[in-house]
Amino acid sequence: MTSSREFRSQEIYVNMGPQHPSTHGVLRLMLRTDGEIVSDVAPMIGYLHRCAEKYGESGTYQMMIPYTDRMDYLAGMNCNWAYCLAVEKLGNVVVPERAEYIRILVGELNRIASHLIAFGTYGLDLGAFTPFFYALDEREKILDLFEMVCGARLTYSYFRIGGVAADLPEGWVKRCHEFIDFFRKRIDEFNELLTYNYIFIRRTANIGVIPANMAVDYGCTGPVLRGSGMRRDTRVDEPYGLYPRLRFHIPIGMGEKGSVGDCWDRYMVRIREMEQSCDIIKQVLKSMPEKGDVRAKVPKAFKPPKGEVYVRSESSKGELGFYLISDGTDRPYRVKARSPSLSNLCVLPAISDGMMIADLVATLGSLDIVMGEIDR
């Protein structure tokens, strides 16, 4: 990279997005480039600012749940969960055991679905078309499972304050079992297809390296932080739900193909997390009580006492936090969502100096951002 910098020609500004196939939605990047070499990147966001926080203040506590779906629309269940956790902590609601297990089930399934999209579109970004079809094929199966529990494919609103909307339908557990057994083997196929592909490794290893201290400083979380070799996961550090009862690994980037914290590491963390999620689901299916309540009694006009909480949880992109202030009425005084993608994206200018444009696309894809969550 340094050698090519000696031959400077004229620098130009290139506008990438908001309508660009590899910016994952409506992100706009302003690049300063010298030929193919990028010398500066300025991400511009806000093209999908949908005023979710205003909605949080304008309705009752329950009315916010559908809007959390639409924040991170790839992992709607996880967003529902984070919000419900915050409200439950504020109002001291105890969730029945079976509901907690169901939450983990759908949460982890959604994590797999989200990582599948990340996997598929990452292939697309780098010019591999086939993985996309493989990934979406599996994702459809997960969506079928979700459709059975709540009737929706994308925007679920399945969580309620104090539990979930309805119990699992008949035959769901069996189908879930079948899916997990099938999917575990499928991951190996993914690896053959993309992960250990020579071209893929050359395009991702040693590209976009984020050192661990930089990742912490910029507030990166989730697979991005773990890809840099930090073993941090809210599910373990500040466990919520019934996660303490489950045994699972936290995969981290180890620099197998390049250096720690490169694109390949981040990508691989996601693949390994899918495996871990499969294990979690298996454990839950085994230890879940057969029957039981799935929803605590919460009054329609739910009024938590005065106070405020910040609750974080691990969504598929990283630490998703909700900051809620209650003034004692049935409407939140303030709802603030701390979205993982926002912090994960803001590291991009710091690491992109001297990169090729094609590598910038690879780096951006490996951060796995969702614009709905960044702009809210």
Partner: protein, 159 residues
């Protein structure tokens, strides 16, 4: 460390600048500091060996009409495993306080967002512009008395 100890530690270092410890009936306790001292307090929180708050989890603006706007900092230490909620109140007429974006880099975009939606001015911030809304937007939408626009660049907002 517990919140009480954290409060004492801050009080010892900063004296009058640390105003109060609020422990509401439900939810998390928070420490209010004077707005002008925010940067030093933040730096102390990050650097002091017994605190080590290396993570700024969240930075939010809150509107308390008719007098105040607040900025709330949620800190977490990944080595010591404790957390702290810092609050700073600024008057609504002149909402100004020093930036912490040099202490934690992640604060950069969060502060821009608070500026965008609440109009809180962070002095010393390198690039304090609107981040979510267009540059020519009028008003600060998350303030409680925000009036919705009727028109934006010739596009009618409601039928």
């Amino acid at each position: 460390m517990q919140i009480q100890e954290l409060f004492e530690a801050l009080k010892k270092k900063f004296g009058d600048q640390v105003l109060e410890l609020a422990t509401p009936a439900s939810g998390e306790p928070s420490v209010t500091v004077s707005a002008q001292a925010v940067q030093e307090v933040a730096l102390f929180c990050r650097e002091d060996s017994s605190l080590e708050f290396d993570q700024l989890m969240c930075l939010s603006g809150v509107d308390y009409p008719p007098e105040h706007l607040a900025v709330v900092y949620h800190l977490h230490s990944s080595t010591k495993h404790h957390r702290l909620v810092l609050k700073a109140m600024v008057p609504r007429q002149e909402p100004k306080l020093p930036t912490v974006s040099r202490v934690w880099r992640t604060a950069n975009w969060h502060e821009r967002e608070a500026y965008d939606l609440f109009g809180i001015v962070f002095t010393g911030h390198a690039n304090l512009r609107r981040i979510l809304l267009p540059q020519d937007w009028v008003g600060y939408p998350l303030r409680k008395d925000y009036v919705f626009p009727t028109e934006y660049r010739g596009i009618k907002c409601h039928d």
